[in-house]
Amino acid sequence: MKMEPQVVVITRSPVSRAASLLREAGYLVSKVPPELAGNHTDAEALVVDLRLFELIQWLDQQHDDDRILIIAPNTTVIKGLTARTVQASAIEDDLTSAVDRIVADQRIAAHRAVKVLRLPATTRAEEPPYSPLTSFFGAMAR
């Protein structure tokens, strides 16, 4: 069953414009405070919408994660960040497409991983398929 992409919006705001925009785009959106963000390991994108001080604290505790998108409260924050960002003033135009890109990257990476996992199976397919007859004659030949 094909599932709509799941996005977590990390925020303390009871009303989040980011969550609203992403729901409008069809995403399954869970809104959580930063201390509960770690419970959502299956999310395809993590949108961080926190006030500057808490954003810096939260980022300090994170490892590199390609799923993170930060809504930057102002331009000075963007300079020091390696994670992807959209400016708070531009979320109406940029947020959905930025999350689309992250989800697409995640799905492409997952698809590649599945291909690599399937490689040994392709090699095995070159061997003759099992059948009771070949098995019987094989045993006779031995």
Partner: protein, 133 residues
């Protein structure tokens, strides 16, 4: 896992259109989800408290009952502990804004196909069951 986590999932459907209620009930019952319906608007908080549905599917634009008022009248404790999904024929944009303002977890347009509606409802049922497990 507790026995609560293994019970058949339940949703409460709040819609005043009998045809929608009948069609949705038949669809979800076939999909293995119990559907609760209500006979009076005053029954809704008691139904939520007694039956503990994982999801409440609330039509926000009913001509007689006002879904928005129903949600606002529920105690904060009930609203926070239950996954409300707004369900309406309104545009997705309008619904998404209302969902955020009213504290609903999701919104579904009635124009969506049943498979898509079921996927979204199941996602929130699973989320509720994970929380209570």
């Amino acid at each position: 896992m507790s026995s609560e986590g293994q019970r058949k999932p339940k949703i409460l459907l709040i819609d005043d259109d009998p045809l929608i209620v009948e069609a949705m009930t038949a669809y979800f019952e076939l999909a293995g989800i119990d559907v609760l319906t209500f006979s009076s608007v005053f029954e809704i908080p008691f139904l939520i408290g007694r039956e503990r549905p994982e999801v409440v599917l609330l039509d926000i634009s009913m001509p007689i009952l006002d879904g928005e008022k129903i949600m606002q009248s529920l105690a904060e404790r009930v609203r926070l502990s239950t996954n409300f999904i707004l369900f309406s024929g309104r545009s997705r944009r309008e619904l998404a804004v209302m969902a955020e303002q009213l504290g609903a977890v999701d919104c579904i347009s009635k124009a969506e196909d049943m498979a898509s509606i079921e996927r979204r409802v199941r996602y929130w049922i699973d989320a509720a069951q994970r929380q209570t497990a």
